[in-house]
Amino acid sequence: MKKQFEGIRRRWRELYHRSSIQLILSLSFTAVAVVGMVFMGLALFLRFSASTNVMAAESSQRVLAQVNLNLDHYLRNMMQVSDTVYYQVIKDLDLGDESDVEALKKALKLLYEKDRGSLVSLAVFDQSGGLIGASPLAELKASVTPEREAWFATAMERIENLHFSTPHVQDLFEDPDSRYRWVVSLSRQVELTRNGITQGGVLLVDMNFSGIEQLCKDVMLASGQGYLYLIDSTGEIIYHPRQQLIYAELQAENNLVAAGYADGSHTETFQSQRRQVTVKTVGYTGWKLVGVVPEETLWDNYGQLLLFFLFVVIFSIFLLAFANLRLSEWITAPMKKLDRAVKELESGQEMVDFNVDGPYEVEHLGRSIQAMVSTMRHLMEDIIQQEEEKRRSELDVLQSQINPHFLYNTLDSVVWMTENGRTEEAVVMLTALARFFRISLSRGSNIIPVSDELEHARHYLTIQKMRYKNKFSADITAEDGVEHLYTIKLIIQPILENAIYHGMAYADGDGEIHIRAFRDGEDVLIEVVDNGPGMPEEMVEQLLQPGGPAAASGAKGSGIGFRNVHQRIRLTFGAPYGLTILSEPDNGTVVRIRLPALDEQAAGRYRKEGER
């Protein structure tokens, strides 16, 4: 149970996190409204159902009261017949006198004729069951013994009452037409006078059963869905609209239970069917009128009502859902706009509008985000600037690594020349050194024309050739137009330094270094070619790797210069540029410097702030 609850909770949370705020708002509004409506609808429906039940019961009671009235009238009529026979005929006659017997028969005939539609027979018996008079048939069947009949015995036992029997076939009299009619017998004990002597007897009024049937037959309960039946005090059926079916056991009735019901409406379950049963006791007889309305017929009406309620609820839910959808769309529109703006920001757009035009909270959120974005941008620009400055600082550091080695060596040579009286050569060297440094400084500019860079290399070669006593020769050529392009400074000298220290230092006057500058499409290539001893492939591969092993650790031009130049070019112009080294042992080395072809305007972008 707990696991299931947890599972439902988890799924709910997943759904919640996947859903949009508009959907959640719509569903929440709709759910609350639906619950309210269903509650209201059910309350109304139940109230209405209860009222309908009460109304149905009251309607049944009214119908039963009317039938009871009719039945009472009918029975009263029969009792009046009985009273008339007894008090106005029998009481006045002495049945010991034959003429009085004839008068009795005549009176019975008259009374029968008056009510022949309701009566089957009128008969007076003496206390031993002998027939004194009867109408319309007067001959008792030979097989009949009236004193053994139930109506006779009951009348004789309880003399003060009138007794109504249950329906039975009238079997007393010989009928030439062989008619067998169902009757309800009303019997009473009477006092007969014979020759002045009073003795007991029984007056029998056989009512036509069809009279009772007529009273009950066409009664409509619950628009014809219900029915009415009549039982005696023991539950024996007197009339039932489906009496023969019950007699044939094709149908059953809950009559024995109904006999125990008090007057009023009851609910019972009979043969798996719930029914509303209304009972009314008929006066004098103890009979009970029972009205039965199957609850399913009431529920049919309820069903229609329920359907209508359901329809109204569904209709309202639909309208509510639609209205809620629109409402939530309107409420969430500023939030959605804000969300879209944030997404645009995430995708890299710079001009994002956070003015969402919504309620206070959302607008405040929008403004806050915008302020945050602005702050972030400034911070990022600061960081970029700092990074740039850091990069330039690194560049300067790298660049500054060149000078001490060279200056130390050159000055050492000048000192040596001066000491040996080679003043002119010392002057040439110092002049070359001075020009070399002038270009090195270039008034602090990092970007210089290619011509200056080549000139710088030329001065360097002049100095080195003097130092190495012309062990090698060198030439510098440049394609037309290349000299006017721009490059970062001091990129050839470290390569020359390397070529000299590793290639030319051991040459015997046949060392050669060729420097050539030329265009290659949008790029400028400066090649430094020497015919020195070259390098193995693995050394070439590692030479430009950051932190790679030096050509000869601790030696001059140990490879630091290569990496230095390579990194400076790439830091300045990007990854496509830099050095390419082609070398084979004993076949010399070609170092190719690739630079972008920069005119003066383009070169300006790479100058430090304040450079000219």
Partner: protein, 314 residues
């Protein structure tokens, strides 16, 4: 946007409006009432069925919304004419047919053909083997044996019992007679079968009263007739039979009939229509139990249960 609007609002609104109109103006018009079913009832006799049987049928018809059409042959027990009626009704597309067969052998083919096209239920004589969906009848053999048993009380050993063969052909009435004959023979009584029609006794047979100690009739018409003959004669053949009309009840009460086997014909009529209607409406039709019957004598005819059987409250 327009499409979205239509999908979101207009279509559901139209659907709900349709439901509203259905609910508001046609609330369950034919509630709990199956469609009217026309059922043809082909009787065995020319002068209609017994009153109680017909009332049973009409009660079922009222309950099940069935319209009954009673069809009678021009002569009693005329199987050929019944076959023609059955064929005609089948061809005219009767939804259900209730048949009281006069002769199973003569009607077998027609019944088989009709059963393929319509819901056919037989009453009194079982023709389910020929294709009828159900048969509603009393246990004829049991009824015949009960009558035979009753006759044994009035006919001494070696006495003669005349059995009235009033419905020629292969049918339920004959089953009764054959069962009674078998029992009587088994118990040492002489059994004679006499052809009988409403016109009277077959010329080939001598008058029953001169020949027999008891007469057994196996259906109402023959029993009524037998009771009349007995009253006008001076002899002493006891009369036993099956049936429960007013005339038979009067005969029983006046001693012209010694005992009767009264079956619940109201139930038979009701159940037959019910089964045929169910079959026509493609509902499950189970085996209809045999109709009950009671042996009634003069002294027991006014007992409560027998009153209900002999004198239907209609």
């Amino acid at each position: 946007m327009r499409k979205k609007w239509i999908l979101q609002l207009v279509l559901p609104l139209l659907g709900l409006s349709a439901i509203f109109f259905l609910l508001a103006f046609a609330p369950g018009q034919s509630r709990n009432q199956p469609p009217l079913l026309e059922m043809s009832v082909i009787l065995r006799k020319a002068d209609s069925a017994s009153f109680a049987l017909r009332q049973g049928m009409e009660q079922a018809a009222a309950d099940l919304n069935v319209e009954l059409r009673f069809l009678m042959p021009s002569a009693d027990n005329c199987a050929q004419e019944q076959a023609q009626l059955l064929q005609r009704e089948t061809e005219s597309g009767a939804a259900a047919i209730l048949l009281i067969p006069a002769d199973r052998a003569a009607l077998a083919e027609t019944v088989a053909a009709a059963a393929e096209k319509t819901a056919l239920v037989t009453l009194e004589s079982d023709m389910t083997e020929q294709g009828a969906i159900a048969s509603v009848s009393v246990d004829h053999a049991a009824l015949g044996r009960a009558l035979g048993q009753a006759a044994l009380r009035g006919v001494p050993d070696g006495g003669t019992v005349l059995l009235l063969d009033s419905v020629p052909g292969d049918n339920g009435i004959r089953e009764r007679m054959e069962a009674a004959a078998a029992l009587l023979k088994e118990k040492g009584r002489m059994v004679r079968i006499c052809q009988w029609t409403e016109a009277g006794w077959d010329d080939r047979n001598p008058p029953p009263e001169e020949q027999a100690d008891a007469v057994l009739a196996f259906e109402e018409a023959a029993l009524e007739q037998a009771a009349e003959i007995e009253r006008s004669s001076q002899g002493f053949p006891l009369v036993y039979g099956a049936g429960s009309t007013s005339a038979i009840a009067a005969g029983l009460e006046r001693g012209r009939i010694t005992a009767i086997a009264a079956e619940n014909v109201f139930s038979a009529g009701y159940l037959a229509v019910e089964a045929a209607a169910a079959a026509a409406r493609h509902e499950a039709v189970g085996k209809v139990p045999a109709i009950s019957f009671s042996m009634i004598r003069k002294e027991s005819m006014y007992e409560e249960e027998n009153q209900k059987l002999l004198f239907p409250v209609l």
